[in-house]
């Protein structure tokens, strides 16, 4: 029996096609995945992301704990509400999960981790937290909505609790404000501006209906995937896993090497890998010919199989197929081809993102 979010009945009423996602019954789309994608790029859309795991980490040594636990450095956060994207590594440098952590006070942080990795994340974090006497509280009493798109903030703001409207309106990107259990972050997973809102399960249906009533359309996980791929954002289980480090996954920018005296789990392994200069990297790829890149398809350099696609799909914004791929590190990639069902087609290697804030970021002309 799959788990259901508090919005399950709302999805059924909106004629969602429901699918299993990491043990949860979630909406794949509400009719057309393509239209939902464009809705978010051009206007505003609403995602139920209540399946994600929310954790509150509390204790006098919470900052020390997270500086040890995470590859990115929460010590860099000074403003209450500031958010940080980070990998959670094992001692070998493999990625256990990717997550967002919000700094509330030096003794209080909120963390959002993936649904599919919930059990192993909890086991790992709880085990590590013991040494720091940090309390890890699972917030299954909270639901989460993502409002994304160029109009998402302006449409959502008047619908928020009055006491939070001013604070929410003045949030900078990657910052959050809250009052009690109502928590608003200016974050997202689409490459568009917007909010992610955490709130009590008991209040989420009312807010969902309120936002629907002012014309924000519900968006399924299908469009969520094409939006994040266009934005060049990683999906755990596809682009990230325990067998690959952040350096091999396009996330070296999230590893805080400085200050050098900070020790974090996986650091020794990462440093060794970095110094050897031999690890593969994650790149963006574009198929300029007709066809669709798919996850796991092999990539060839000069005719030899040397890599593979970690995420591939059709880009609704660009009208062509795009992907993320793991390839050996080279200064240039003149002769990469993809093997699609035995057919070899040339792909262009590019630097993600492909699309941000509704605009193409890659040059398709050459």
């Amino acid at each position: 029996m799959n788990q259901k979010t508090p919005l399950y009945d709302q999805h059924r009423q909106a004629h969602a096609k429901m699918v299993d996602f990491g043990g949860w019954d979630m909406p794949l789309h509400y009719g057309s995945q393509l239209q939902e994608h464009h809705q978010v790029r051009q206007n505003a859309g609403m995602f139920d992301v209540s399946h994600m795991t929310l954790l509150d980490l509390t204790g006098p040594y919470a900052t020390d704990f997270l500086r040890h636990l995470l590859a990115n450095d929460v010590g860099r956060l000074r403003t209450p509400g500031k958010a940080l994207y980070s990998c959670l590594l094992n001692p070998q440098g493999g990625v256990i999960d990717d997550l967002i952590v919000y700094f509330q006070t030096p003794e209080q942080f909120r963390m959002v981790v993936n649904a599919a990795t919930r059990d192993k994340d909890l086991a790992w974090i709880t085990q590590q937290a013991q040494h720091f006497k940090v309390e890890v509280a699972l917030r299954d009493d909270l639901a989460m909505l993502a409002l994304q798109g160029p109009r998402a903030r302006e449409l959502t703001l008047p619908q928020l609790p009055t006491s939070l409207q001013t604070a929410a309106a003045s949030l900078t990107p990657f910052q959050a404000c809250w009052e009690g259990d109502f928590f608003i972050g200016r974050t997202g997973y689409t490459g568009e501006d917007g909010f992610e809102i955490m709130l009590p399960n008991s209040q989420v249906i009312a807010l969902w209906q309120q936002l629907l009533a002012i014309g924000i359309l519900p968006i399924g996980l299908g469009a969520r995937d094409t939006l994040r791929l266009e934005a060049g954002m990683s999906l755990y289980g596809n682009d990230l896993d325990e067998d690959h480090s952040p350096l091999e996954s396009g996330l070296e920018w999230t590893v805080a090497w400085q200050p050098a005296d900070r020790d974090f789990i996986g650091k020794t392994a990462l440093q060794l890998q970095k110094n050897q200069h031999a690890h593969p990297i994650l790149v963006g790829i574009v198929l300029t010919e007709k066809g669709i890149l798919r996850t796991h398809q092999p990539l060839l350099i000069d005719g030899n199989e040397q890599g593979y696609i970690t995420s591939g799909s059709f880009s609704p914004t660009l009208g062509i197929s795009i992907g993320l791929a793991r390839l050996p590190k080279q200064t240039a990639y003149p002769t990469v081809t993809v093997d699609i069902r035995g057919k070899k087609l040339p792909v262009k290697v590019v630097k993600p993102p492909f699309v941000r804030q509704g605009q193409a970021c890659i040059d398709l002309s050459s």
């Binding site: 995945q33 669709i292 059709f314």
Partner: protein, 129 residues
């Protein structure tokens, strides 16, 4: 509930086949199949003149979500392909039995396999499972 026209024959792999007045056979995928796949963004069709066996894999339709192979419902030769789908694969979603047809075949004179195709009733039962 998806549409299953009465004047067509069907396969277990969700293709439909229509016997035209001139003896040729038009092939497509069913409403049920397009609805399972979602928005189509790419179609790969067999080549003109290509001989096909019964249930031979001869094309691919891809939605944003997934790729699905097309199998020939009968034995015969490809006479015509629906070029419009190259630029507008979404026709398969909007009109699976008319504008979204995939290709036309000239059935083999012997053992084309036409008689083994599923009736609309039989396909409806299968699609419900």
């Amino acid at each position: 509930m998806s549409e299953i026209p009465n004047d067509l024959k069907y396969t277990r792999s969700h293709e439909w086949a229509r016997l035209e007045e001139d003896g040729t056979v038009t092939v497509g995928i069913t409403d049920h199949a397009q609805s399972l796949l979602g928005d189509l963004v790419f179609v790969e069709l067999p080549k003109m003149g290509q001989p096909l066996d019964i249930e031979e894999q001869c094309g691919v339709v891809e939605s944003v979500k997934a790729a699905s192979e097309i199998f020939s419902p009968i034995a015969g030769e490809v006479l015509e392909i629906n070029d419009a789908l190259i630029e507008q694969p979404e026709l398969v979603n909007s009109s699976p039995f008319e504008d979204g047809w995939l290709f036309k075949m000239k059935p083999d004179d012997h053992n084309s396999g036409w008689d083994s195709l599923l009736s609309p009733e039989h396909y409806a039962e299968m699609a419900e499972e």
